[in-house]
Symmetry: C2
Subunit: 204 residues, 2 copies
DNA sequence: TTTATTTCCGACCAAGTGGTCGGTCGACCC
DNA sequence: GGGTCGACCGACCACTTGGTCGGAAATAAA
């Protein structure tokens, strides 16, 4: 068991550092040597634990990326009260975190989707799955919001969910090129207006 | 002048093919040899016309990308009637074009912004400028819409513009991973609702 | 036809790339 | 102590990268 522990510990260290660099510089722009140098490890160590660079990245997605996504974007939106409020708060918190992180490099998921699109269908599948978990969660939350009277019944939950994820991805992309404070404020403000509409029983 | 013409013609051919491949595979993932092979030209020809790969890319942005952006995203939204309607139609047309293009690789501008962020500030500047032209145009259009009575006076033009560009960037990013038809429909539908709100004289 | 100049060729280079492989070293078992 | 085995080392390989350079066609000027 000790051996297994050591093995796991090393693999985990590699994955953490790997994700950091992949997120920072992109997958194709980060060499295995870069990661190994940051870790003080050698080629031998890497290929002892992982089959290939791709295998390594997939293991990172399955372990770290999924986990991060759940804890930052999925779990915080769940709750018994007004789902629109929960979504708004979760989005605002995420944007605030990004804003105050000078090392922010955009929305991890959409960055990778953009990079792998048309190049690696296998990895794309994993990323797509994460996105869909996000959307499904939003939809069911909005549906529940309808039963609970927080969301107007005429609202198209799927449409709103797509619209929400799209706008969030977009604003995160824009925030990387500076001016993030204003962008966050404007975005939340507009989202608030939009949600006010979704909550209304009747449209004019 | 003939020489200049030939020179320009070759350079233009290189730029067109270059943009095609850069858009398809990304800048760092497209080698000069790839482009040259597609053109049937040699290394010598390339470095005779351009100083470096970066110089080449910048020339592409300044010539082709800016031009494309103007003709597809800026000029179509201008008009005397309802600006909200113009924006909606322009966005819908762009999304429809992307949807019916099986070779679509996402929104060019945001793809490049994502790729160059934190890696090449010089190129980032050029991309950022294009984005800002977009936003400025949207803002002034919305302002005019206010004077003309199409847009409610309480609306924050800057905020709406940011929100619009963000949502468009996001939906284009999502459309690359399939299901583009549904996404476009949902997006336009939600945008319509949102615009209805912006046009209203008073909020409930 | 010679001469000059623009345009293009392709061999070459140093610096990387992902991946392989024989070997070392220490912890544990007998 | 000897042997086994998991964990790691680092030289090495074939290949690709952006970029250089001497020279050769093509074209225009004389």
């Amino acid at each position: 068991m000790d051996k297994t522990l050591k093995r796991m510990a090393t693999m985990h260290r590699m994955q953490v550092t790997g994700l950091e660099l992949f997120y920072q510089n992109g997958y194709y722009n980060t060499s295995i040597d870069d990661i190994l140098k940051a870790l003080g490890l050698s080629k031998g160590a890497f290929y002892y634990h992982f089959d290939s660079k791709e295998d390594f990245f997939i293991s990172i997605v399955q372990n770290l990326v999924v986990q991060k996504f759940y804890s930052h974007m999925i779990e915080p939106i769940e709750g018994q009260e007004d789902p629109l409020n929960n979504i708004l708060n979760t989005f605002e918190n995420s944007l605030a975190t990004a804003e105050h992180n000078s090392l922010d490099h955009g929305f991890m998921l959409s960055n990778f989707i953009t990079e792998f699109n048309g190049k690696n269908p296998v990895i794309m599948k994993y990323l797509k799955d994460i996105y869909q978990i996000w959307e499904v969660n939003l939809v069911s939350l909005l549906q529940k919001g309808k039963s609970d009277g927080y969301v107007a019944r005429h609202v198209d939950s799927e449409g709103v969910a797509s619209y929400l994820t799209a706008s969030y991805i977009g604003i995160r992309t824009l925030m990387v090129e500076g001016n993030s404070r204003t962008l966050r404020y404007q975005y939340i403000q507009q989202l608030r207006q939009y949600f006010k509409m979704l909550a209304q029983k009747e449209m004019a």
